[in-house]
């Protein structure tokens, strides 16, 4: 069973590698192909060639169709600027779009209009469209003085679901920006280093990371990313050192601090220092009721299990049944629960958990054996969509849909200038592209999930057999266990603690505090022999 957990943890570490550090899943052939090309030197003039530019163009916003109305005069740009600084971003976006769509790109302030259009759209929540215009400004760099501002805006956009192929790959990674102000330089160096790391170009990654200033928040991120890479290469001491440096960095944000703690907890778990691991897990903060929280709970449950704190283990596993975690794919939940019952010599409930597993995943396992398209199985599909890069892509697809729905809420000037129609087109295109990418990645990830599920099924069969053996195993008196504090199931009438019996109603505040009051039957078996 220990080997199972090792496997699980390896999986978690791989997940960390792919998801924790905002990594791209393996198999990015585009990047892999580019590995063979020499590294661009710092400050060099390695501009993307015509073919690359064409590809970037395909990713970027469709050019606005030239309307039949007369070209907007420079005053239109000025009025848009006025709107922008007055906080009327919808008006500013309309004016800037009018200016852009009725003039050609040689007109005065064309790039500034693109920048202000992108920024205005970002301010009113059309982040995908904003990214498209800011991408144009940053990629073309015909007005280098706008580049720092455009990158600053893009930095804000990449903090939430975004078009990674456009911004991360086509812009940040494939562009040599030349001199940048220190803040922008840190941002770009970090993303370029991260992409190098994902592609296995460790030296290049380290060189990029070295460019990041010590007093930059990206410094902590780069330390964490390198830590993950070291962990992957089994260089645990280096990894721990890097995680600790990331954790202790004065500018490390909450996310990085938590990721570092989580990584350290996993290292402690792997070295079987379960008490220390549980203490470290307790320090990890994740968004409430999120998949990350469910994953953290499951890891805590395993840690408690190895500490033989079965009451806590079962409490955590019950918490994972809350409706908020319904979408969380965790077949091992049944396995762990059956293991706990087996350890407590509750053999019938242990077998019941195995039946519950078959009941829950039976249909999916049938589908796997029937070799259907795994993407069509709802369980596999939703589990795959909750993982790593695919989850980010799904989040991005959702954000596109939400933003597209809001186009209709803005009428007036948007309709007059045709901005609404242009955005509809842009979002439809973005949605289609995201769908295509999703479906392509989904097949691989769903297969991975299916393989895991089949492995768990095998584990369940094995456990079922072991339980059957345990029922009839004769015990000697020396094997009798000694009662522990966990055997005390008394509930005091009053005191510093309140005991709320669970009655089919999950209270979110109680989820981390479930205790499972269960009698350990193994003692009687020992003494009765």
């Amino acid at each position: 069973m220990r080997s199972l957990v090792v496997l699980l943890e390896s999986g978690l570490i791989l997940l960390l590698l792919s998801g924790g550090a905002h990594a791209r899943p393996a198999g990015d052939t585009t990047r892999a192909a580019s590995d063979a090309t020499p590294a661009p030197e710092s400050g060099g003039a390695d501009q993307p060639g015509p073919k690359g530019q064409a590809a970037d163009r395909a990713l970027a916003a469709p050019a606005p169709t030239r309307p039949s109305r007369p070209a907007a005069p420079p005053e239109r740009f000025e009025s848009g600027l006025g709107d922008f600084y007055a906080g009327d971003f919808a008006g500013a976006a309309a004016a800037m779009y009018d200016y852009l769509s009725t003039n050609d790109d040689s007109v005065e302030s064309y790039e500034w209009a693109q920048y202000f259009l992108g920024t205005s759209l970002a301010r009113i929540g059309f982040r995908h469209a904003a990214a498209q215009y800011l991408f144009d400004v940053a990629k073309e760099r015909t007005r280098p003085e706008i580049l720092p501002d455009a990158l600053t805006e893009l930095e804000l956009l990449v903090a939430s679901p975004h078009d990674e192929s456009l911004i991360d790959d086509a812009l940040l990674t494939d562009t040599e920006f030349g001199y940048l102000p220190p803040d922008n330089g840190d941002f770009v160096s970090y993303h370029q280093g991260l992409q190098d790391l994902r592609a296995g170009r460790v030296e290049w990654a380290e060189r990029n990371f070295r460019r990041i200033r010590e007093d930059s928040p990206y410094r902590a991120r780069s330390l964490y990313a390198l830590g993950v890479q070291r962990l992957d290469r089994k260089s645990d001491t280096d990894a721990v050192s890097l995680f600790r440096r990331a954790l202790g960095h004065p500018l490390a944000d909450r996310d990085i601090r938590n990721q570092s703690r989580l990584a350290l907890a996993r290292v402690l778990y792997e070295t079987e220092e379960y008490k220390a691991a549980r203490r470290m897990y307790d320090e990890v903060e994740v968004p409430e009721l999120s998949t990350a929280e469910a994953s953290l709970y499951l890891e805590k449950a395993w840690t408690s299990y190895w500490l033989r704190d079965f009451r806590k283990t079962m409490g955590i596993l019950y918490a994972l049944e809350a409706p908020s975690y319904k979408s969380y794919f965790a077949p091992e939940l049944f396995l762990l629960r059956a293991l706990v019952y087996k350890n407590l010599c509750h053999y019938i409930p242990a077998k019941r958990e195995i039946r519950r597993f078959r009941l829950r995943f039976g249909k999916t396992l049938e589908n796997v054996r029937a070799r259907i398209d795994l993407r069509e199985d709802e369980v596999l599909r939703s589990a795959a969509l909750e993982r790593g890069g695919l989850k980010r892509l799904a989040d991005f697809r959702r954000s596109i849909a939400e933003e597209a729905d809001r186009i209709d809420t803005l009428g007036g000037e948007w309709v007059e200038t045709g901005l609404d129609e242009h955005l509809r087109e842009l979002y439809a295109l973005g949605g289609e592209r995201a769908d295509l990418e999703l479906e392509a990645q989904l097949a691989t990830e769903a297969r991975r999930v299916a393989e895991e599920l089949v492995e768990f099924e095998e584990q369940m069969y094995l456990l079922d057999y072991e339980i059957g053996l345990s029922i009839y195993r004769r015990l000697r008196k020396e094997e009798a266990r000694r009662p522990t504090d966990a055997d005390n199931l008394e509930i005091p009438a009053s005191g510093e603690r309140a005991y709320y019996a669970f009655v089919d109603e999950f209270w979110n505040d109680e989820l981390p505090r479930y205790d499972f009051f269960v009698e350990n039957r193994c003692f009687d078996e020992g003494v009765s022999d």
């Binding site: 001491t237 549980r278 079962m314 509750h346 509930i491 005191g495 005991y499 209270w507 479930y514 009051f517």
Partner: protein, 264 residues
């Protein structure tokens, strides 16, 4: 609303023996045996530290004495309560002054029927002392977005009541509800029913309904003691894990990784 009843221990745990178990099993509806089954394979209980610990409580009240037909008393008062533990407390002194307002009944009686009510003594103030037991503690979901903690209690005691014509003893009892707003402040709604001897006519019933605000001193919320919201399983019974510094363990495992004690 979630309420905590003291000791929901089944008869089995009380050691009442199989015979009593059988009797109870027969007497109780089918749910009892189902519950036994459930207990056999364990049951889930949310174990939480009580968020607030009361110690020295000072309260200010405004209330009403509504029962007397001739007048209505509007009271102002205060109390001091010493809390022994989460269950028991002693309301050492509870004092209320009553400002009485005529209901107009005596005037109406005199004008219409030329009669005057007897026993027209009016309460001026009350001073009582109570023993308080708080068996119910629970929490309420406020618009499904916040949680409020509340408790109900029962007070039993006695004291003196001062009427126009002098002091009279009183036996007093009644329920109350407390709503916590934080470790220091809570609101109370009390209903106290007092029996006061009215010689020679018998007993007079004095009902008092008060709404008050309480201030707690001498103890703090458990959360403020450095364990905010930590589950008991993680800070109390953690197989010693709470005493363990995981970074120390990392230092032992990976000595070369030890930085100059970073902020953790």
């Amino acid at each position: 609303m979630k309420l905590l009843l003291p000791n929901p221990t089944p008869a089995r745990r009380l050691g009442l023996g199989p015979a009593l178990g059988l009797v109870l099993g027969l007497a109780l509806p089918g749910g009892a045996s189902a519950q036994d089954d459930e207990l056999d394979s364990g049951r889930v209980i949310a174990v939480e530290d009580r968020p607030y610990r009361m110690a020295h409580e000072f309260s200010a009240f405004a209330g009403i004495l509504p029962l007397d037909a001739v007048y209505t008393g509007y009271s102002l008062g205060g109390s001091y309560t010493l809390h022994f533990d989460e269950l028991w407390a002693w309301e050492a002194i509870d004092f209320h002054y009553s400002a009485n307002v005529d209901s107009g009944l005596d005037k109406t009686l005199a004008e219409r029927w030329s009669v005057a009510p007897t026993g027209t003594e009016r309460i001026q103030y009350l001073a009582t002392s109570h023993l308080i037991v708080s068996p119910l503690f629970g929490k309420l979901a406020l618009f499904n977005s916040a949680i409020l903690y509340a408790e109900t209690y029962l007070a039993v005691g006695g004291g003196i009541t001062h009427f126009d014509d002098g002091f009279r003893p009183a036996l007093s009892a009644g329920p109350g509800v407390r709503l916590y707003f934080g470790p220091r402040v809570s609101a109370r709604l009390d209903v106290r029913s007092a029996l006061v001897p009215d010689i020679p006519s018998g007993l007079e019933h004095v009902l008092r309904v008060t709404l008050g605000v309480s201030f707690n001193f001498g103890a703090v919320a458990r959360g403020a003691q450095g364990h905010p919201g930590e589950p008991p399983g993680q800070d109390g019974e953690d197989n010693g894990a709470e005493e363990l510094d995981p970074f120390q363990k990392l230092d032992e495992l990976y000595p070369a990784s030890a930085p100059a004690r970073e902020g953790s």
